[in-house]
Every structure is written in structure tokens, then in C-alpha cells.
């Protein structure tokens, strides 16, 4: 990931969950989620319902000290406390929290 220095995709290869959608998309979508979080569940469903392919890492499932390294970088990106689901697009753009109309704009392919 270029947005954050922790190489999440390699380091947590075995924990990252991939969801394959039917849609043709050029953008790569990655989420940091919390396994118990209702907004994360709704956000993933929003993506799935629209046929998006995405991957996600449940940060509450990784050791606290490692997780805190990632969170520290998210805090730097946001400039404030991050909300989950935390969406990253093409490792360049991000949005903190599930806000459907913003996600829609960010994911627009046109």
C-alpha cells in the first residue's frame, strides 16, 4: 500500500478476505474493518450489492501492537481518529467511515 508504509497486503495475506463481484472495475478497493461493526457490515453489503470486487482486513483480529502501527498511519492520513470501514481506492484515495453518497462518488468510473 502506498498510502501507508505498513505492507498490509503481504504481511496479512492470510487474514485478508477477498470478495469477488460481477462488475468490471478498474479501481482496486481495500477496506480496514472491525468484525463486530455494523457500519462495516453495511459497507461491505453496499459494495457486494453493486457487484464490486474488494478485499478487507478485520483489524480487531490482528495483534494490538501491530494493529496500532496501522492505526497510527490512518490517523496521520485522516488528521483525526479514523472511522471504520476505512476505504482505500487504488492505494491513493481513501474515505474514513461508511458514507454511501461519498463512496458512490469515489467509485464512479466515468
Amino acid at each position: 500500500m502506498s498510502l501507508i508504509s505498513v505492507n498490509v497486503k503481504d504481511r496479512y495475506r492470510d487474514s485478508i478476505i477477498h470478495v469477488q463481484g460481477r462488475r468490471t472495475q478498474s479501481k482496486e478497493l481495500f477496506l480496514f474493518t472491525i468484525s463486530t461493526c455494523i457500519w462495516c457490515r453495511l459497507g461491505k453489503r453496499w459494495l457486494s450489492d453493486r457487484g464490486y470486487t474488494y478485499s478487507y482486513l478485520e483489524i480487531d483480529k490482528i495483534p494490538v501492537d501491530e494493529k496500532n502501527q496501522i492505526k497510527k498511519e490512518l490517523v496521520e492520513l485522516v488528521g483525526d481518529a479514523p472511522s471504520y470501514p476505512f476505504l482505500m481506492i487504488n492505494d491513493r484515495e481513501w474515505h474514513s467511515g461508511y458514507v454511501p453518497f461519498i463512496w458512490e462518488e469515489l467509485l464512479n468510473e466515468s
Binding site: 461493526c37 457500519w39 496500532n68 490517523v75 479514523p82
Partner: protein, 110 residues
């Protein structure tokens, strides 16, 4: 370690909290069930009701402000936005027919 909580135990807990604070619960069954199951998982893993929508440090002292009902719900969110961060507890006069959206994270940086 405390005895494991069941969904029924957690439901009784959130009912008590809602009534104690003069709030009402989310009336969307699926959301409510998801939140109850998130709280149950947190209790059974951590030993306390960590907010299901916020990430834990797995330490009750560090997480004390986000133990449900969180400090932010009690101090401001329910009153100001009509519901807590997770949309579990609502202000009594909140119009439940309107869309429910994420509210800003009020918790300062960890």
C-alpha cells in the same frame, strides 16, 4: 473470566441501559441483532462490552470510554445526533422512519 453472555443477556443489558437513560433501541431488527451479536462477541472475548463499532486496545482501562454505553453517547451524541455512534441507542423523539447514517467520531485519538 465471567460467564459467557448469550444474545438474550445482551438484549436485557441494552434494554436496561436504554430505559435508564430514557433512550430507545434501534427498531431495525437486523441492525439491532447485528449490534447485539457484536457486543456479545466483544464481551465474550474481552470481558467487557466494548463498543462494537470501535476498535479495542483489549484493555478495559484504555477502552473505558468506549465501553457500552460509551461516554460519547452519554455526554453528547444521542442528544445532538439522535443516536449513538453505532446507532444502537436513539433519543426518544428520533423519527425512526428517516435514514440512519454514521455520525462523526467524537472520541479523541487513542
Amino acid at each position: 473470566m465471567n460467564r459467557e453472555k448469550t444474545a438474550k443477556d445482551v438484549r436485557a443489558y441494552v434494554d436496561t441501559i436504554a430505559s435508564r437513560h430514557g433512550w430507545k433501541l434501534n427498531n431495525r431488527e437486523e441492525m439491532l441483532e447485528g449490534l447485539i451479536s457484536g457486543l456479545m462477541e466483544n464481551y465474550n472475548r474481552l470481558g467487557y462490552y466494548n463498543c462494537p463499532c470501535r476498535d479495542s486496545q483489549e484493555d478495559a482501562k484504555l477502552d473505558r470510554d468506549i465501553i457500552c454505553p460509551c461516554l460519547y453517547a452519554r455526554e453528547a451524541d444521542v442528544e445532538e445526533y439522535g443516536h449513538c455512534y453505532c446507532a444502537l441507542f436513539f433519543r426518544k423523539d428520533f423519527d425512526m422512519s428517516q435514514e440512519i447514517a454514521m455520525i462523526p467520531e467524537r472520541r479523541p485519538l487513542f
